[in-house]
Point group: C2
Chain length 251, copies 2
Amino acid sequence: MSRVWTAALVIIGDEILSGRTQDKNIAQIAQWLNVQGIRLKEVRVVADDEEAIVEAVNTLRARNDYLFTTGGIGPTHDDITVDAIAAALGVPVVIHPEAEAMLKAYYAKIGKEATPARMNMARVPEGADLIHNPVSGAPGIKVENIHVMAGIPHITAGMLEGLTGTLEGGKPLVSVTVGAFSPESEIADLLRAVLKEHPDVALGSYPFFKDGNYGSNFVIRSDDEGKATACAEALADGLREAGYDPKVGGL
Amino acid sequence: MSRVWTAALVIIGDEILSGRTQDKNIAQIAQWLNVQGIRLKEVRVVADDEEAIVEAVNTLRARNDYLFTTGGIGPTHDDITVDAIAAALGVPVVIHPEAEAMLKAYYAKIGKEATPARMNMARVPEGADLIHNPVSGAPGIKVENIHVMAGIPHITAGMLEGLTGTLEGGKPLVSVTVGAFSPESEIADLLRAVLKEHPDVALGSYPFFKDGNYGSNFVIRSDDEGKATACAEALADGLREAGYDPKVGGL
């Protein structure tokens, strides 16, 4: 079996914990990682609090190939991510000359002053490289195995696009979905039987309620497309035998 | 200052980590907790893996007043939450007689058989009480300070409704939002000055891009409505002086 590459994500933000903002970064980063052949293994959401950030960062960076963070890299008093990452790594915060030049050029272009608050966004943990931000000037930061991204989802999306193909990973994870209007409690035994015959795949069962009926999507994941497809076909056959009308691709 | 009551949330589910399902439980549980006078302090998303669940549950239940979990309480092979919580607590899994009776009555009513897979949903960690599920029969579980909820958001919503007012908490958290089309980098200094005059509130700055303009919502949180309002008024005054047109209530 090939090596499995893993990543963890630390979401930094009181706005998520207060329920004010609906997180969208978990799903978008997870999907992007799948394509890079890296699996998102665990996520933590922590407050804008240095101690909490340091604990999460140091635990998760040690046991995963990559760590991503989102949030807290803007110019205001609650943006403490850079200081917290530097504290986690035990390095000082320095001005990154390229970030400084980029920010000065960006604000000159849009006709705004490069205030000290704005130039705060050129601060990085010592030894860091920049992650290009095509959307709003302030770059992301790469230091050791940590990728520091924006909190605003469309800015993070732009940064991820620039990182595409730059991280070493394994084979992309393939997923095949089989959906049926079968309440999952009716086919729990079938699932166990299919999984016994196809031990190398992961099989998840995700119930839903749609058009007045209960059903489930069964998601088969593997880095071997042939194995995922074979399992999906066996499951679809079993669902047909049990009197359902399964749809490969999901419902 | 009054005691602050805290909660943590463990989201159990490969479907969130794979990016297949967009989480909606963090925001809905956070908002519900705010009304109960309890603050959501930290969240972890872990895989359908007993060891990962036990680690998260035992760390977070010890350092918070309440722990909530979502996901993994259905009838299929990947529903391992009950066993993992029992393992975390060091107690056996038992059949809860009331849950058994409820499930039998529910399936009789909808004309389905009470299969062994379905009756799995009557299994609870020893010593647990049930949390009523008005939507789909299978109850949630309350054991020590742990509340085990469904993964499907509208089922969790029903369970939360039943729990409303049953948990001891502090004063509800009040939040007042002031929005303005002011890029946050332009008013970072103003925010620091306002916060210095109003040290007892939390003040978050959440930038947005709307109708072609950058702006920010500034969210002031406190369990003292008067203090939150006073801070919001001071901030709105400062924004007006700086030439912006702030809206209390947010943009």
